[in-house]
Assembly symmetry: C2
Homo-oligomer: 421 residues x 2
Amino acid sequence: MEKPQVFLDLIKHRGLLLLQWVLLSLVVGALAGSASAWLLLALEWATDYREAHTVIIWALPVAGIVVGLLYHYYGADVVKGNNQIIEEALEPQKIIPLKMAPLVFIGTVATHLFGGSAGREGTAVQMGGAIADQFSSWFGLRSLDRKILLAMGVGAGFASLFGTPVTGAVFALEVLIIGRMRYEALLPAFMASIVANYVADLWPIAHTHYHISEVPHIDLQGVFWTLVLGVVFGLTARLFSKATHFWGNLFKKYVGYPPMRPFIGGAIIALIVYLMGTTKFIGLGIPTIVASFEQPMGQADFLIKILLTSFTLGAGFKGGEVTPLFFIGATLGSAMVWLVPLPVGLLAGMGFVAVFAGATNTPLACLIMGVELFGAESIVYTGLACVMAYLSSGHSGIYGSQRIGSPKWRHNTHKKGQRLG
Amino acid sequence: MEKPQVFLDLIKHRGLLLLQWVLLSLVVGALAGSASAWLLLALEWATDYREAHTVIIWALPVAGIVVGLLYHYYGADVVKGNNQIIEEALEPQKIIPLKMAPLVFIGTVATHLFGGSAGREGTAVQMGGAIADQFSSWFGLRSLDRKILLAMGVGAGFASLFGTPVTGAVFALEVLIIGRMRYEALLPAFMASIVANYVADLWPIAHTHYHISEVPHIDLQGVFWTLVLGVVFGLTARLFSKATHFWGNLFKKYVGYPPMRPFIGGAIIALIVYLMGTTKFIGLGIPTIVASFEQPMGQADFLIKILLTSFTLGAGFKGGEVTPLFFIGATLGSAMVWLVPLPVGLLAGMGFVAVFAGATNTPLACLIMGVELFGAESIVYTGLACVMAYLSSGHSGIYGSQRIGSPKWRHNTHKKGQRLG
């Protein structure tokens, strides 16, 4: 009679564990998904308002100093943002304060309203992570459980922001350690991401759709060009990461008082936008991303976006990097139609996901993002481009707290276990 | 002047490394892809011949003893098949003899020609792995390089057999260690899989297409049913793995001389097929798999297929497990349309990939297989079903040599590092 009892205990134990994570994913998913939906609604409003009243951009330095003061006096313990979440998920030490969520929300909307160039996924990930982490203290969860909760929050935030549930889950598993993936949080991350995406869609939001109109059957020539493009996209991702760190260090070196950095940076950005005479390169830049899939973009568009975004974020404005990375990749891919014998939409799609893969070191999440955004037909092109971009960006990335699990190149074996820094 | 020199050295070093893997993947991909294509052609011929001359099934015991003698006197060092490749990739010791490829080819075609119930992916993986491993000695490659070569062979074989290049690559990375993925072989596995799939398609073969005609937008009810189905599919996978080991152990215990096992087993199968009066459950069973997507299958179909396949393989016949797993999952999913309020095609598709995920412990490869075979629309259903089936199959699987990297359930922490056995 012993074996049936052991078996029943096993069922009960696993059933309870399963129930706990399913219920938590419903709650975390609902909260993080709603937060993402509100962010999307706020950013839509902010973007529309700014485009209708571009004079507001002159107030960017003021918005900058306000956000800077807010973080300096009230948010010093949440200022590390995405890196803070990665660090806590790698080595749990201190629960992330819930105020990370409203602070990054306000900071991001202000950045976009007044014309900074930034993204939004960092915001969703920080909101999701901060919300999920609150349950760590409520439930008295252990270190492993906290890691799982943070993965749920990251996945839920990412998934609901872009309308890509599976990508969100895989991103949460893949982003911590470069070159490795671990499955402890597999089901909770999937559940939270799917629920968050479902709940976000209950709000009156619309995710942007991108369309690759033509995907030729891949042959060896196509493989060759995809490898070449992958290298280009990877080096571009590396340039973006280095540029963000460069501006950040420059501001730190020459402007001692943190709140002054976005003030000065905001003034410079406002001036640049005035001189350029276009708002094409500030904000999220979604109309340009969509257009990249239809027609060739300018050869220098991606460089201008790299400069403006890395400068905006380096100066201390809030927001994410991912939508600008989409902009950079899509415009660069689109512009290469003159050189590469592949359709413009496919080139834009490859750049869209591959630059992101190189900058975040998450090739499989980006491969799946290609599927969720563009459909299954282009998976070989986008997948191989993501893999090659991942290798070519080297040990660089926008998340300095990522740890190197499997070095990308064999002569870098000594880097194993290090942080990107 | 030192920095530019270091930089040039880096470019040269990485460029050469890249060139080496790209060239190797062209060769390995071309050979493994062609081997898969020949296997597909041979199996098509064998299946057609058997269906036209079903009397041949009475010769199954004779085919069994011939294959048994062949392996006993000539193939003792390649008889472990897929597990041998997994073991060598985990702990490289001895190059896999090339004869593994022709032996498993002959054994598999004989199994299908004379009416055993088996698959084909094991054959393709063993051919790809054995072919790739030959380059280990030719090039004097090191241990890490041998692991990468084996991943290329596994990916190339799998990819070209099913026409799913990205799935093949991810499967090769995911199959070694349960609950972990490592990216050392990322690019070589992708390249070899894509090239193998391309080369296989140059031969006059056709991959089977499966069609999910209707995918409802997922809501919480859909999530609930997907979790329930995932548990059912995972337990079914576990049953299949246990059944294969059960028959294998039974034959070992009662039949001392290995070549006699498939003789006796073949006689029993021939008798069962005669009594059932149908060839629906032997061979690959592709017509039934395709039909599962269109209409509800019988409630017991999956059980009969589990019995026949586990018995065939346990008796020592050659072939793979994956196509029977597709059969089992698709018919079971399809049969559950009476209980679960989801379209029959979607249920069949979920079962198709999820039972496979549970039996091989490769949830992400199976998620991607769903995309490559059925398109992007069903990814949330198939993905979540694969994740849940992976968890529910526990620490069981058809590859006993898989190592447990991250235990699936927290009270199994002590199993970390063990082989499935």
